[in-house]
Amino acid sequence: MEKKNLLERQKRIRNFSIIAHIDHGKSTLADRILELTNTVDPRAMKSQVLDSMDLERERGITIKLNAIEVNYRSDDGNDYIFHLIDTPGHVDFTYEVSRSLAACEGAILIVDATQGVQAQTLANAYLAIDNDLEIIPVINKIDLPNADPEKAKKEIEEVLGLDASDALLVSAKSGEGVKEILETIVKKVPEPKGDPDAPLQALVFDSYYDQYRGIIPTIRVINGTIRRGDKIWMMATDAHFEVTEVGAYNPHEVKRDFLGPGDVGYLAATIKDIDKVRVGDTITHADRPAAMPLPGYRRLNPMVYCGLFPVDNADYEELKDALTKLALNDSALVFEPETSQALGFGFRVGFLGMLHMDIVQERIEREFKLNLIATAPSVIYKVNLTNGKTIMVDNPALLPEPQFIQSIEEPFVKTEIMSPSEFVGPIMEICQNKRATFINMKYIDPTRVMLEYEMPLSEIIFDFFDRLKSSTKGYASFDYQFSRYLESDLVKLDILIHGEKVDALSTIVHRKSAYRRGHAIAVKLKKLIPRQLFEVPIQAAIGNKVIARTNVKAMGKNVLAKCYGGDVSRKKKLLEKQKEGKKRMKAVGNVEIPQSAFLAVLSIDDE
């Protein structure tokens, strides 16, 4: 292609994301765009094409990034190439959102006309603003009887500080207003800058593993042009490869001759080593490298850690393999080997938040068919030792003995809670119970309020969200970001089962709530641990001091009274079922403990 034509083509590229609070209609809008542009045959259309994982469709959320190329003939008579880069809506995936946004020039900001601006609308909008994107406000679900577009507009202006006078009114469900969005993208989203002849700079913003072609990075080209046969250099990992294929997604892979500035697509280069592809890295040509890598993005550090162990110790290698594969396109997922006296060999795994943790666990169980035991999640504590050193502890079992500890600091977060004003009372009560410090309260309008608190992250992972939802009838939304480390009066709460300390059940708790929580955990465990052949005492202890105790009584009866002739096959089935149940248990000493018990510390009602 002539340079002139290349530049002409580049002028017609528009790269954008859709950002929204969960359930505000992002994936539905994406579906409509694909339909309207004939990218996907409406008859072949699965609901929510972008959400390709089963898990995503089931939960109605988008977890992984997807980038789809869409061809659109505008009313101005020109053909445009859109790259629609999907983003997750949930608070845990802020990092992934920022990855997507780095590959865009514009963002469609969806606000639900019935719900207005929510906590994640706010968080995502700020990310887009930080990334200098052109933001197109869209008010969705205007077909619903309780839609209030004017109120939503007002909130966009007052809460987000964006001009909403041109906000588009849309029903992604019926398709009303979607065409106007496409026209607005053409007009408002800037064309990609970049010189096709400059040294190559392509940003890796995702990657996945293909059985035949190795690791496939998803890239956004900023400068230069990449072709099949090119020798490339990954600037951060210092690896060299030869490109065997480049292409785009429509939404399936389509091979291309080249990818130039503004293009979003993939490349294959027979990359076998997972470590060589790092999301955020810059790809350049080996023989004519760029002078500077692109600004990568800040690697987000995990905020929550938990232990993951295979129920069957023989599955250790498979678990390792599963985590390695998941981490490939989930750079926020980190893990290292962990050994527990109770659970054997497993991994200490870091996550961005609770949903992230849930999803990773569920994917491992589903996609890799592994039976897992997850221990209660923990934040990372900063422990100041008496010898003047400071260590980071993400595993309660590894907290040093009290005599070596000068003080413990824990991470605090700033939370923004948005809710109808009638629930302010209950929210304040929850926050108080969660050791939160009130910062600010702001009325968005007479019926809606935004509350700001600073609170320990550990209190958030300990059923904060469930409680917030249940006491506000599901109306409250919240978001949080790390603020700082602060000293707290913390102690390690150990659980002893049948006299043995079960390391995987240790937690770090505030001294004031230790008794209450110790008691609650012991009672909960009593319910979860099936009766054994002998009586099993369960104790909660701080150091050597037992603060709560219960007993699991010895087993009652377990016998089949009658069994004759042909009955034996029936009897065998019964025993097989019983054995199946035992498989999901972990033997700690002589006591069989079900998977659920290891999370018991999380879901107790400790009020």
């Binding site: 009584k553 009866k557 002739g565 065998k572 025993l575």
Partner: protein
């Protein structure tokens, strides 16, 4: 293949349906019963070659005594024709107490039956009502008198415990009465709430409850202790007998030996193969009428399966299994076939003494916890 020593004959009819029973049974009209017994005898004819080594016969159900007298007579007469009763040591039939009349007892006597298993379940009025049994304590007393007068000496009484209001004093009354009336064998079963039974439904609706597992375990131990004091041997999980009155037929099952069976839904075990007959009566008859075997399921057991079953069944007996017999039968040492036995012995869930491996009596009520290790 040695010929089976036991024959089971199934009668899938009842005069009424008990609330706890999930066996296949019908309250049927006379013609249907006639047709069934006719085909049952025909199946006997088809299999008579394998009756040569029989030592025990067991007619069970359902309720065999739900058959009209002449049909029962017809069945017994024909079995007598097909089997040399001279070799039969134990010939049992299950009976409802209120079905026993002098006429019926005479038919049984003449048919060669020498052991009666009475479905008493309890003597308590309320309990009988809950269980859906139609007889009274008086009916049982009369039945046992009739049987005794005709010289029946081997009488089993079935009892059920484990309803929510059961206590040892209450169950003891039942045991006492059964013994006083001359029972030589007592099967004391704990109630199981089976799927698709009336009790299960009532339980789901909150209208019926079982006894708590702990209390039941206590009750079990007390029943065993009481019967032993009264001279009974606790020889299987739920079975107690006066000396030499153990059920030989049932021991055939628990010793994992071959047995023959005829009738709808009956199973039989020959060589290493288990067969199960069609349950549906009409289809069963159809199959027999055409001269085909009436089985719907054939399972060939591997030697592992058989060893498993040997343990699952054998450990039901208080005397457990014989280690030398095990080795003779399977060509492998029992401990070698199941290394888990060592752990179970350490946990005191098994004992090995004088060539026998068994669950100690005080752990019998946990036997599933032991048996699951052999699966």
């Amino acid at each position: 293949m040695s010929e089976p020593k036991a024959l089971y004959v199934h009668i899938p009819f009842c005069s009424s349906i008990c609330t706890y029973c999930d066996f296949y049974k019908l309250v049927a009209k006379r013609e249907r019963k006639e047709k069934y017994v006719e085909h049952l005898v025909k199946e006997g004819e088809l299999k008579k070659e394998s009756f040569s080594a029989l030592e025990t016969i067991y007619i069970g159900g359902g309720t065999p005594t739900a058959l009209p007298l002449n049909l029962l007579d017809y069945l017994l007469t024909n079995l007598k024709r097909l089997i040399d009763l001279g070799n039969i040591e134990e010939y049992s039939i299950e009976a409802n107490p209120n079905d026993i009349t002098p006429e019926l007892a005479l038919v049984l006597k003449e048919g060669g039956v020498n052991r009666i298993s009475l479905g008493v379940q309890s003597f308590d009025k309320e309990k009988l009502k809950i269980l859906g049994r139609k007889h009274s304590e008086d009916d049982v007393r009369k039945a046992l008198m009739i049987l005794r007068d005709l010289g029946f000496k081997n009488i089993n009484v079935d009892l059920i415990y484990g309803l929510q209001d059961d206590s040892f004093p209450k169950v003891k009354k039942d045991l006492k009465k059964a013994i006083a009336m001359g029972a030589t064998h007592i099967s004391a079963y704990s109630l199981i709430l089976e799927e698709k039974t009336i009790l299960k439904k009532l339980h789901a609706e909150g209208k019926f409850n079982r006894l708590d597992d702990d209390l039941e375990a206590e009750l079990y131990k007390k029943i065993s202790a009481y019967l032993k004091r009264r001279g009974f041997l606790h020889y299987e999980i739920s079975n107690f007998a006066r000396k030499n009155f153990q059920s030989k037929h049932n021991l055939t099952y628990w010793n994992n030996m071959n047995y023959m069976g005829i009738g709808a839904g009956a199973s039989y075990y020959l060589g290493n193969t288990r067969y199960t007959n069609i349950t549906n009566i009409d289809k069963y008859c159809e199959s027999i009428a055409s001269g085909r075997p009436a089985y719907k399921e054939v399972t060939v057991l591997s030697s592992e399966d058989r060893m498993q079953e040997e343990m699952i069944l054998g450990l039901r007996k208080t005397e457990g299994i014989s280690l030398t017999e095990f080795k003779a039968k399977y060509g492998i040492d029992c401990f070698q076939a199941f290394p888990v036995i060592r752990n179970l012995i350490n946990l005191q869930l098994l004992e090995a003494k004088h060539d026998r491996l068994y669950i100690p009596e005080e752990k019998l009520y946990l036997s599933n916890e032991v048996l699951v290790n052999f699966i």
